[in-house]
Symmetry: C2
Subunit: 351 residues, 2 copies
């Protein structure tokens, strides 16, 4: 029996009807891997990574997108629309293409980084740049979706959160229990909302006896929830969480308070340190925003948090291949050596 993705696997817990097409591009069922080195270094009982970069378009967005697209098909819409320059547009474009739906991506003016849009381009999305910022782009796609037969697939679409909650189900299905703590990056706050919803539902079904504490981390330059006010011009190297006014703000606070967790912030320096540590010690290449979860873990353990008897899951939201520029920022210079053993042995230090 061929694996059918999250719509089939979790259909009873998703807004699936008899008319919902149960298709899959291979989303979900991502690896939950044990930390090779950091777990010991910080003295954690057990430390796992949920590798959402292994989803088919390279981020966790695929979980929600497959539900949003399936519902668009169920409603006989022939197009989807969103405002996004990153992971959402990539996922929307891929899923729309596979279902022969038009995808329309509205992006803000300004320097357009082709790398970030590469997936939307290759999947044939219609890309429209507007003379305005992200908030205005979002406002326009909302208006268009209200006026025309087109499905809005930004995270305002509740099916997105529904799909994303399946990551919690997988964590529990694989561990046999919930972790004590879940560390997660917070940008638009849809993902922390979704994970919490998933854990609560499994708790209500009796599948877990304890829910995890939700530990959300924003970037200091884009930390509206921590600071308690909208950030007008959010700035951070972690572009995927560069959000000044999160759509799921109140639900993130609810997840924090109901779970007894925290929403805190980490600096870009912390994020890049965690990003480098993940690559050089754990063998994981994630996008900078993903590293905010591990940066948060490092911050709290340095301040004395004792995890020696605790289980921890860090959510790594997307693939590092999405942002190769950050990876090659500190590139060594290559000296071309003569092609003989002696010179090369000397360079390696084996002479």
């Amino acid at each position: 029996m061929v694996k059918q993705g999250i719509l089939s696997r979790y259909r009873d817990l998703l807004p699936v009807t008899a008319n919902t097409p149960l298709f899959s591009l291979g989303e979900g069922d991502t690896p939950l891997t044990r930390s090779p080195q950091l777990e010991n270094k910080i003295g954690c009982g057990s430390l796992y990574y949920k590798l959402e970069g292994c989803n088919p378009t390279g981020s966790f967005k695929d979980r929600g997108m497959v539900v949003a697209i399936a519902k668009a098909l169920e409603e006989d819409n022939r197009a989807v629309i969103c405002a996004s320059t990153g992971n959402t547009s990539a996922s929307a474009a891929a899923y729309a293409a596979s279902s022969a739906l038009d995808a329309i991506i509205v992006i803000p003016e300004g320097k357009i980084a082709l790398g970030k849009l590469a997936q939307a381009i290759v999947h044939g999305a219609r890309i429209i740049a507007i003379d305005g910022n992200f908030d205005l782009a979002l406002k326009i796609v909302r208006s268009l979706s209200q006026k025309h037969q087109v499905t809005l697939v930004n995270s305002l679409n509740p099916n997105r959160i529904e799909g994303q909650k399946t990551a919690s189900f997988e964590v529990v299905d694989e561990m046999g229990t919930a972790p004590d703590y879940l560390f997660i990056p917070v940008g638009n706050a849809g993902n922390i909302t979704a994970y919490w919803k998933g854990f609560v539902e499994y708790y209500q079904l009796g599948k877990i006896k304890q829910k995890p504490k939700m530990m959300g981390f924003q970037a200091e330059g884009a930390a509206p929830i921590v600071r308690g006010h909208v950030v007008d011009n959010p700035e951070t190297v972690a572009t995927a969480i560069r959000i000044g006014n999160p759509a799921s703000w109140q639900r993130a606070i609810a997840a924090r308070d109901e779970s007894g967790g925290v929403i805190d912030m980490v600096s870009d320096e912390d994020i890049l340190e965690a990003y480098s540590l993940l690559a050089s010690k754990e063998g994981i290449f994630c996008e900078p925003a993903s590293a905010a979860s591990v940066a948060g873990l490092l911050k709290l353990t340095r301040r004395g948090m004792d995890l020696s008897a605790k289980s921890v899951v860090c959510v790594l939201t997307g693939s590092g291949l999405k942002d190769v520029d950050t990876a090659t920022r500190k590139t060594p210079s290559f000296t071309v050596l003569p092609a003989n053993l002696a010179d090369i042995e000397k360079a390696i230090g084996w002479d």
Copy 2:
């Protein structure tokens, strides 16, 4: 119980001893997805894609690398070495980093594309450029591995093939049978060798009653097996299969002949057509080399091959995010529109 990767899952069929560390970075268990549109278009009984780009470093290489690194650890080697500018170096660097082994990557002279090396760089590999071509780089790493306590992790290392054969096991475990045909890109020919080895072993164990026909495809500019002679200066857009003298040449021929399959070639134009079709109709962004399998399928069905009662698996070897340049080759120009509904509706054609 947390998923443990291919070493644990298939330990009885791998060179695993009591002293082999059974670790995992999340390799294997990749999606086998059903074709959304192409299956109908070409009239195929059933068409599946094995999405090897969903492996943790974005290619199938992780399957063999985890075995090669585990054996290096078992032998108490403290370093691994390979000649590679692409997927092999990325995988070697990641797995070595997670095990605190040094990784040494020897690359040929010439224009060094940072994007291709980004993963090796971020995972902290030692990169040595030499004044010579790939063949010379390979010769040097072989010599070094014979002289020093370092494990060679190029595909000459037999543990690589052992790990890669687990993809066949997964296809069978998921389908409950082998497909009638397996389409696969052929470069160094290690992967077609590994898949065939996997199917033969499952056949010998009685897990399948029929083995698939192996359908291998080289790029026209790098088709030594098809042409019957070494290609001195192989050229193709599909860089991951740009090989003029495949290491597993004879075993690929054996796989073809024993299975009753073919090894044929496709043009760069065919490859790019399949690459675009996969992205725009199937929602899959693979690297150009991966598309050689689908280009081969299109070539044969256009010539009248009848697959109406057949099951087909196409192996897509790596993620398109590895090579964003090819994706953005034909980039549309973005006209920045005024941020009002009327102008945008007009541009979309909704006025």
